[in-house]
């Protein structure tokens, strides 16, 4: 047992912390208010190698590990939840599946630009009628000569409007038992018939781009099928297992930011002649918050460590995601409460953190779905 981070992990965390404090945090309020996607900031993050942390150098990555990546997501999330979501989605959903399941040619062509930070990736699974039940995908693809032709619709797809490629899932047939066979395709966003718009007005993570995809006779070369044509479903389950670590890390980051603000405020704010931090009611809130954040962080790092050591991590990443996301909503809510009326004002930023973190209980599998995943791992 060793809880010490390596020098590289610490340096990564410190560098991202400084970067996020300097380049992201000062803008978070404006990006939220005006729903601005910080494209330039992502270019900078790309140049620093942040978009390629968990990928090897030969694919344009930085050759880091999942732990370093989780620490980086936490730090970005501390500064801005929306930027954190787009960052986590670009790496865990946009790029990782190509790394896990892509052929050498696909990695050369499609992973290198993402891992080296020259472009963003995106992952289109959810549809208007298939959310938690991703197996109910209605988007269809059929082979026509050397090309697949894809038709369908996807909703709430992070980063798609700024992405070079979207990994799109589609039904390509039925098994003997009549179940859908789902495959995944790498679809360049400039392919004719691929319409991407961002019509949503979101509650939180407003700095993150969320797009609707409409695919009308979108043709991709048949080489663009990702991994095993019959295993698209289990591939995205594996992808989501990894993604959950980053969503959990993001929740920890947002919670930490809200906690820091609440602690500082409680020491400063005087009522009844004393700082409110001297009231036990406030102290107990702060004690619970600090404890829960640390517990969540430990679970995130354990799940990341399991992944880095090629051990099973499905259950642990669901633990981390479920606990961290619900914890972060509680913590942000209490942080707002500690701020009293000021907390309800945008200027104090904790209300944004509460709005941002609510998404963590929904994206990449709702809390209910995490409980289902865990129950399945328990053999139920």
């Amino acid at each position: 047992m060793d809880f010490e981070l390596t020098n590289e992990q610490k340096m990564t965390r410190d560098m991202v912390r400084e970067f996020a404090e300097q380049e992201i945090a000062p803008h978070a309020r404006e990006w939220d208010e005006k729903a601005i996607f910080p494209e330039e900031t992502f270019k900078q993050m790309g140049e620093l190698g942040l978009l390629g942390i968990p990928f090897p150098e030969k694919y344009g990555g930085s050759g880091g590990d999942t732990i370093s990546y989780a620490l980086a997501v936490e730090e970005i999330g501390k500064a801005c939840g929306g930027t954190g979501l787009s960052y986590a989605a670009a790496v865990s959903l946009g790029a990782s599946p190509i790394y896990y399941f892509g052929t050498e040619e696909q990695k050369e062509e499609h992973l290198v630009p993402l891992a080296s930070g020259k472009a963003l990736g995106s992952f289109g699974l959810t549809e208007p009628n298939a959310g938690s039940d991703a197996g109910g995908t209605q988007t269809k693809a059929y082979l026509d000569g050397d090309e697949y032709v894809i038709n369908g619709e996807k909703c709430w797809i992070t980063n798609a409007q700024y992405a070079r490629t979207v990994i799109v899932t589609a039904v390509t047939g039925k098994t003997e038992k009549g179940k859908n066979i789902i495959s995944a395709f790498i679809v360049p966003t400039d392919t004719p018939g691929f319409k991407i718009t961002s019509p949503y007005d979101k509650m939180g993570v407003r700095a993150s781009n969320t797009s609707e995809l409409i695919l009308e006779d979108v043709r991709v070369p048949k080489e663009n099928i990702l991994g095993d044509p019959k295993k698209g479903f289990s591939q995205f389950l594996y992808t989501l297992d990894g993604g959950r670590i980053s969503i959990a890390a993001l929740a920890v980051g947002i919670a930490q930011a809200a906690f820091n603000k609440a602690l500082a405020y409680a020491k400063e704010r005087k009522q009844f002649g004393q700082p409110i931090s001297s009231f036990q009611a406030i102290q107990f809130k702060l004690a619970d918050m600090a404890m829960e954040i640390e517990l969540a962080r430990n679970m995130v790092l354990k799940a990341a460590w399991l992944k880095d050591n090629d051990k099973p991590f499905t259950k642990e990443s669901a633990f981390a995601k479920l606990y961290a996301s619900e914890m972060a909503t509680r913590v942000c809510n209490q942080a707002l409460q500690i701020h009293g009326g000021y907390g309800y004002m945008k200027e104090y930023e904790v209300e944004r953190m509460l709005r941002d973190t609510k998404l963590m209980e929904i994206g990449e599998g709702t809390s209910e779905i995490q409980r289902l995943v865990i129950a399945r791992q328990l053999g139920c």
Binding site: N7, E8, M11, D14, M15, L48, E57, S62, S68
Partner: protein, 257 residues
């Protein structure tokens, strides 16, 4: 060009600092590269990229400083040297550190040595000038601009907000002031590469130094935090009354007139 940077690991003065019995509590403190030394590292990398050569970052400290040395390597320095004082039993002060650095640098082939203007922890600004004296080379402190052309060096120097222009020549030691450059963030590939770059550890025996001869020349009697800032006072009433009150406060309370 052979470039050396003198770097200190310090606690972050922007974080909360706790002093127990005259000693800064290291448990709660955050440690960083002295911010002025970051300017020195950045400038060293820029000079190397322009003129070729190698950047070596040197620190006097203990094993804990390895992280800061690796960070300098991640920014782009080529080599790092730790002069390890772990086993040094005498007191250490600026004299000790300067002697250790001078002894090390005497054996090196250097063209330019860069340091920070001051360290943010004790703000003495002594080490680098002492090293220049020890080596018997030119020194210019608080620089905000530098151009090297062969042996000739043109420098802009901050003098209380004004700029002084100086022409000098290599070999040279400079200390770096805010405004010289914007230190880069170490990139992720940089961090990974830093792992494989050479980091040598020496102790004072390796430098042929005698512990007693370089023991501290000064004694620290006490360390304490500055008094907490009190709340401001808003004077009220007619201007005349306010002036009278202000004068009386300055006289009797602040005792400055």
């Amino acid at each position: 060009m052979n470039i050396f940077v003198l770097m200190k690991r310090t606690f972050d003065t922007e974080e909360k600092i706790v002093i127990n019995d005259g000693v800064v509590d290291e448990e709660g403190a955050e440690f960083i590269i002295n911010p002025y030394d970051e300017y020195a590292i950045e400038e060293a990398i820029v000079l190397r990229d322009e003129h070729g050569g190698e950047v070596t970052v040197v620190t006097v400290g203990d094993e804990e400083a390895e992280k800061e040395l690796r960070t300098a390597l991640a920014m782009g320095a080529d080599k790092a040297v730790l002069i390890d004082m772990e086993d040094f039993d005498e007191e250490i002060d600026h004299f000790t550190v300067a002697e250790a650095l001078t002894a090390y640098l005497k054996e090196q082939d250097y063209d330019i040595i860069l340091g920070g203007n001051v360290a943010v922890d004790d703000g003495a600004g002594q080490v680098a000038p002492r090293v220049a004296e020890g080596l018997g080379i030119n020194q210019v402190t608080t620089i905000t601009g530098i151009q090297v052309d062969g042996e000739k060096v043109e420098i802009e120097r901050d003098v209380e907000g004004d700029v002084e222009k100086i022409e000098t020549s290599l070999p040279l030691l400079v200390t770096c002031q805010q405004g010289l450059n914007e230190p880069r963030y170490p990139s992720l590939p940089g961090i990974m590469k830093a792992k494989k770059k050479p980091l040598d550890t020496l102790d004072i025996d390796d430098l042929d130094l005698d512990e007693e001869e370089i023991a501290a020349k000064t004694k620290t009697l006490d360390k304490y935090l500055p008094p907490e800032k009190g709340a401001g006072k808003v004077l009220e009433g007619e201007i005349d009354e306010q002036v009278n009150e202000l004068v009386s406060l300055l006289k009797n309370e602040a005792k400055v007139i």
